[in-house]
């Protein structure tokens, strides 16, 4: 049983509530990106300090200052992205965005509130995220508090056009697609 819906059906998903897999994948990407940027900045600071003062600076993960700065950086990363465009880099990659609960554009104040209450969903073993699965609007705890929702925003119509274009290009070039080749090995 293939979990992938037909392409025609995907076209109709723009604006629909985003599901758990897309949201989790987007968050995972954001976590990697934000952490990578944080580490790079720390490395750049260490290098700068060493060049200027000649002293080596070692960042320790158990260092409270580093932990606090990291948490602040996370607030900044998510809050700024949601306030400016309604999406983080990970969300942009997965084609989802944050909107107000009614579907209109999320105001910056609400975006900042969402980033502030976002950690609450991690409490009690991430119980706050269960709403993405079982709540009728796929809203997590931080969504309910901030009055936000996450929807698909990627242009599935353009994706379908590209798919058709590729099909057309393959047909005109006389090259059979892998799927066709698999179905008709004799050809």
């Amino acid at each position: 049983m293939s979990p992938r819906p037909p392409r025609d059906a995907l076209v109709g998903y723009q604006g629909h509530y985003a599901g758990s897999v897309s949201r989790f994948a987007a968050y995972s990407i954001d976590l990697v990106v934000s952490t990578a940027v944080f580490v790079l900045v720390l490395a750049a600071i260490s290098w700068g300090v060493r060049v200027v003062t000649g002293h080596d600076v070692h960042w320790n993960r158990s260092n409270v200052v580093v932990a606090v700065i990291f948490v602040l950086w996370q607030f900044l990363y998510f809050g700024y992205c949601w306030a400016v465009s309604g999406r983080t880099p990970g969300m942009a990659l997965l084609g989802i965005r944050v909107v107000r609960a009614d579907g209109t554009v999320l105001p910056p104040k609400q975006a900042v509130l969402r980033s502030l209450v976002f950690p609450l969903s991690f409490l009690l073993f991430g119980l706050g995220f269960i709403g993405i699965l079982v709540q009728h609007e796929h809203r997590a705890l931080h969504d309910l508090i901030a009055g936000s929702a996450v929807v698909y925003s990627w242009d599935a119509r353009a994706a379908q056009l590209r798919f058709l274009a590729r099909q057309s290009g393959l047909a005109e070039g006389g090259v059979s697609s892998p799927a066709v080749a698999k179905a008709d090995p004799a050809g």
Binding site: G19, S22, G95, V134, E137, A156, L161, R162, L164, A165
Partner: protein, 169 residues
């Protein structure tokens, strides 16, 4: 003098002034009639469609040497005199575009290859695949969750504002 010639001379003396008089009277009458006529109103009362219906346009066109005619036409000068803006303002572009079957167009023309080459190629294809896969898994998980919790009412697909935007043509 021949009596017949004399008769002709007399007759000419009578008819020539009469002819001049008749000519002047006719010209005067024609002037009066033309001045009295409202040509625009007259033209408005003419049923041009009925008139043109009686004209054998094909026969006229057959007699026209279009090549010779077009050779004499300076199309650049003609187009330079055309004010395209009001012409285009009268065209309902949205209606025109809606009548186009884009899928069929792409399938039948090289436009497909153009879009494919201008839309990021492999990167766009990979992104589409990732997103499509994620959406598919979302739906898969969603179906199982709804099977387990059996909601009394179907869940809304999208926020109200986005649903309304989709409903608009």
């Amino acid at each position: 003098m021949n009596p017949r010639d004399r008769l002709r001379a007399v007759s000419r003396r009578v008819t020539d002034p009469a002819e001049v008089l008749a000519q002047e009277a006719t010209e005067r009458v024609v002037d009066l009639v033309v001045n009295a006529l409202d040509v625009n109103e007259l033209a408005a009362r003419i049923d041009l469609n009925a008139l043109l219906g009686r004209v054998d346009v094909d026969a006229i066109v057959k007699r026209v040497d279009l090549d010779a005619l077009l050779d004499r036409v300076d199309l650049n000068a003609l187009l330079a005199r055309v004010d395209l803006k009001p012409l285009l303002d009268r065209v309902d572009v949205n209606d025109l575009v809606q009548q186009i079957d884009m899928d069929a167009l792409i399938e039948k023309t090289d436009l497909g290859a153009v879009i494919a080459s201008s839309s990021g190629g492999m990167a766009a294809e990979a992104l589409d695949a990732v997103r499509s896969g994620a959406v598919g898994l979302d739906q898969f998980v969603d179906r199982w969750v709804q099977r387990l919790i059996r909601p009394k009412q179907p869940w809304p697909a999208a926020p109200p504002a986005l649903l309304a935007a989709r409903a608009e043509p």
